[in-house]
C-alpha cells in the first residue's frame, strides 16, 4: 500500500506524541501530580495511530480506559487532555471525568469508558445512527482483549452485523486483561475468529507494525464506508507498563521479564523509524527536531494544566442534568 511521504512522517510523529504524553503522565502520576487511575498505552501506539490516520475528522471513535493514544491520534490536544488528568476546569470534560473518561465531541471522540466493553453496543448504535441519517461516516470502537469476554461484545457485534452498520471493531489484544491472559480467558489463538459468529470479516494483524495496521484499518473502514458492514480487527500488541500507573514493577509479578523484554525489541516506533531512515524518508536531524517540538508541546501542556483553576463545587450539580436554556 502506498503512503505519501507526508503521511509517513505524520504516522511517526503521532506515535512519538503518544509515547511522550503517556510516559510523561506515568512520571507525573508517580510524582503525585495526577490522581486516580491512569492506564498507559506505551508499546501500543501503532494501533491508535494507524487506525485513526485512516479516519476523517467527521468520523467517530469510542475509546477505553487506556484511551490517551486514541484521543491524540484522533486530534485531541495535549493541553486539554492533561488539564483533564489534573482535574482542572479547562480539561476536555471540565475535570469531571479524568483519564478514564476523556471525550471531545468536536473531534468525533464520543468518550472513553471505565466500564470494560462499555462502548461496544454504543458503537453499534452510533453506526445505526449514521446509516439512519444516510451520511458516509464510520465509527471505530476500540476495546481490549478483556472486553471481548463481556456480554456487550456478543450483543453489540450481532446488532451491528444484522444492520450492516458502518462500525469497525478494533480489539487491542495486549495479551493481558490485568493478570488474566487472553489465551486463558478465551482458549483461542486468534480472537478475530469470533467474527465468524457475527457474519462479518475478521482479521488478526501485527499491532506493532504501523503499516500493517494502517492497511488493515484502511480496508475495513473503506468497506464500512461503502455500506458493506462491520469488521472485527484484532491487533496483537503488548503493554510495557503495569496495568495502571500505580501497579508495582510494570506488572512483572504476573508476567515474565523475558516476555516484556522481547516485546520491547518489537517497539513499533523504533521499528518504523528505522524503516523510514533506511528508505531515506527522514533524517536524524528531522527526527531530533520532531522530538524537540513534541517535548515543547508537552512542557506547554504541563504549564497550561498547572496554571488552570479547579472547577467550582457547584458545577457538579449543574452538570447532573441538562438544563433548559
Amino acid at each position: 500500500m502506498q503512503i505519501s511521504d507526508k503521511n509517513n512522517i505524520e504516522l511517526l510523529r503521532t506515535m512519538k506524541r503518544i509515547r511522550t504524553f503517556d510516559e510523561t503522565c506515568q512520571k507525573l502520576f508517580v510524582a503525585g501530580r495526577i490522581p486516580g487511575a491512569l492506564h498507559c498505552y506505551t508499546g501500543e501506539e501503532a494501533i491508535a495511530t494507524g487506525v485513526c490516520k485512516v479516519l476523517e475528522p467527521s468520523d467517530y471513535i469510542l475509546s477505553t480506559h487506556r484511551g490517551h493514544g486514541h484521543l491524540i491520534a484522533k486530534g485531541g490536544e495535549f493541553k486539554y487532555m492533561l488539564a483533564e488528568l489534573f482535574g482542572k476546569s479547562t480539561g476536555y470534560c471540565k475535570g469531571m471525568g479524568g483519564s478514564m473518561h476523556l471525550a471531545s465531541v468536536k473531534h468525533g471522540i464520543l468518550g472513553a469508558n471505565g466500564i470494560v466493553g462499555g462502548g461496544i453496543c454504543i458503537a453499534a448504535g452510533v453506526g445505526f445512527s449514521i446509516k439512519y441519517q444516510g451520511t458516509d461516516q464510520v465509527v471505530v470502537c476500540f476495546f481490549g482483549d478483556g472486553g471481548i469476554s463481556t456480554g456487550f461484545f456478543h450483543e453489540g457485534l450481532n446488532l451491528a452485523s444484522i444492520h450492516n452498520a458502518p462500525v469497525v471493531f478494533v480489539c487491542e489484544n495486549n495479551l493481558y486483561s490485568i493478570s488474566m491472559t487472553s489465551k486463558r480467558a478465551t482458549g483461542l489463538d486468534k480472537l478475530s475468529t469470533r467474527a465468524v459468529s457475527y457474519n462479518m470479516p475478521g482479521e488478526t494483524v501485527d499491532g506493532n507494525d504501523i503499516l500493517a495496521v494502517y492497511e488493515s484499518a484502511y480496508n475495513a473502514i473503506e468497506r464500512a464506508r461503502a455500506g458493506k458492514g462491520p469488521t472485527l480487527l484484532e491487533y496483537i500488541t503488548y503493554r510495557w507498563r503495569g496495568h495502571h500507573a500505580g501497579e508495582a514493577g510494570d506488572g512483572l509479578f504476573y508476567r515474565e521479564k523475558k516476555e516484556l523484554e522481547s516485546w520491547k525489541t518489537k517497539d513499533p516506533i523504533r521499528r518504523y523509524q528505522a524503516l523510514l531512515l533506511k528508505e531515506g524518508k527522514i533524517t536524524e536531524e528531522k527526527i531530533e527536531k520532531m522530538e524537540m517540538d513534541i517535548q515543547q508541546e508537552m512542557d506547554d501542556a504541563i504549564e497550561f494544566a498547572n496554571n488552570s483553576p479547579y472547577p467550582k463545587a457547584e458545577s457538579i450539580i449543574e452538570l447532573s442534568m441538562l438544563k433548559k436554556e
Binding site: G95, S179, A185
Partner: protein
C-alpha cells in the same frame, strides 16, 4: 488482643471457611494470581489452587450466573465483583435470579452464595468507580445485605454469611481496607439483624454505616469535650434491619441523624429515616437529618471528590441543625 486490617479479616474468614468446607470456592476477576484488587484473596490461590480460587474472564454476568448455578449444584460459591460499579452489568443475575430463585420455586431451592463487592469513593476514580449503590440490593427482596465497618465485624459477618443458606451481598468499603482493629484469632460469628452501639451517648443518635461510622465516632469524641454526648449506632446489616436498637436509642436522645454514603435520593439514609419517622414520630424533638452523597455523580477532580464524599464536615452541619 491482636490487631489486623479489614482486608486481613476478610481474608482470614475466607481462608478458614475454605479449609473447613470443601464446597466453598471463589470466582472473580484477578482474584487468583493477583490476589484481588484489595488483597482480600491474596495467597489463597497458592494454598488452594486454581479450582477453588478461579480467575475468570472479564465477564460479570457469567461470574454471578455461574455462582448461582454452582450453588444450585451443591457448592457454596463466593463470587467477587471487583467494584460495585460493575454490578449493573450483571443486575439481571442478581435481581431476577439470585434473589428470586428461592421464592419463585416455592422454597424448593436454596442459593447459598456470598457476592463480595466493593463500594465507596476513594482516590479520585471518577463516576464509574466510586459508587455506593447497594440500595438497589436493599430494594430487592430475597437478598441479605451486609455492610461491615470494622475488621471485627467483617470477619464475624463474613463467617455468618458463608454459613447462611440465603444469597448474601457482602459490601466491603474501599476506604476501610487498611483500617485496623482488634480481631480474635478463633472462629466467631455475628448474627444478621443485630445493630452495634459503637458508642453510648444521651444527647443525639447518629446511625451510620461503613466509613461514616468512623467519622461519627471521631466527631463524637471531639464533641464529648464540648459537653455533647453522642450515641453512634452501626446497623451492620441493612437486610435484615435491626430497628429495635435504633428505636431504643431515639427514645433516649430524641434526635436522629442518619449517615450513609449512598446517594441521598432513595438511598439508605432516606430508608432508615422513614422507618424511624413512621414508628417513632412522637419521640422525635427535631426533624431527622440525612447525611449522604449528593444527588449527582462522583466527580473526578480532587477538590470536588473531597467535597462530594460525605464525612465529618457534613455530620457537623447536621448536628448544628438538631442541637
Amino acid at each position: 488482643m491482636r490487631t489486623i486490617t479489614y482486608s486481613e479479616a476478610i481474608h482470614e474468614s475466607i481462608d478458614y471457611n475454605m479449609e473447613k468446607d470443601e464446597t466453598v470456592f471463589n470466582l472473580g476477576e484477578d482474584i487468583g494470581v493477583l490476589g484481588g484488587g484489595f488483597r482480600a484473596t491474596h495467597d489463597l490461590y497458592e494454598k488452594y489452587g486454581r479450582k477453588r480460587v478461579l480467575d475468570t474472564p472479564l465477564s460479570e454476568i457469567a461470574i454471578v450466573g455461574a455462582a448461582i448455578g454452582a450453588a444450585l449444584g451443591g457448592l457454596r460459591p463466593i463470587p467477587e465483583i471487583m467494584y460495585i460499579d460493575f454490578t449493573p452489568g450483571c443486575m439481571d443475575m442478581i435481581v431476577n435470579q439470585m434473589a428470586k430463585i428461592h421464592f419463585m420455586f416455592g422454597g424448593q431451592i436454596k442459593v447459598p452464595m456470598v457476592l463480595r463487592t466493593v463500594c465507596g469513593a476513594a482516590g479520585y476514580n471518577a463516576a464509574q468507580h466510586s459508587q455506593s449503590m447497594y440500595p438497589f440490593f436493599v430494594h430487592t427482596p430475597g437478598l441479605i445485605v451486609v455492610t461491615p465497618s470494622t475488621p471485627y465485624d467483617a470477619k464475624g459477618l463474613l463467617n455468618t454469611s458463608i454459613a447462611d443458606d440465603n444469597p448474601v451481598i457482602f459490601m466491603e468499603h474501599k476506604r476501610l481496607y487498611t483500617s485496623k482493629g482488634e480481631v480474635p484469632e478463633e472462629f466467631y460469628t455475628i448474627p444478621f439483624g443485630k445493630a452495634d452501639v459503637k458508642r453510648e451517648g444521651d444527647d443525639l443518635t447518629i446511625v451510620a454505616t461503613h466509613a461514616l461510622v468512623h467519622d461519627a465516632l471521631a466527631l463524637a469524641e471531639e464533641m464529648e469535650k464540648e459537653g455533647t454526648s453522642i450515641e453512634v449506632i452501626d446497623p451492620r446489616t441493612l437486610v435484615p434491619f435491626d430497628k429495635e436498637t435504633i428505636f431504643k436509642s431515639v427514645e433516649k436522645t430524641n434526635k436522629l441523624i442518619v449517615a450513609d454514603e449512598s446517594i441521598l435520593s432513595c438511598g439508605m439514609a432516606s430508608e432508615i429515616s422513614a422507618i424511624v419517622a413512621e414508628e417513632m414520630f412522637d419521640y422525635l424533638d427535631k426533624p431527622i437529618i440525612r447525611v449522604a452523597s449528593p444527588n449527582c455523580h462522583c466527580p473526578f477532580s480532587m477538590p470536588l471528590e473531597d467535597a462530594y464524599i460525605p464525612g465529618k464536615e457534613e455530620l457537623k452541619e447536621a448536628i448544628a441543625k438538631v442541637l
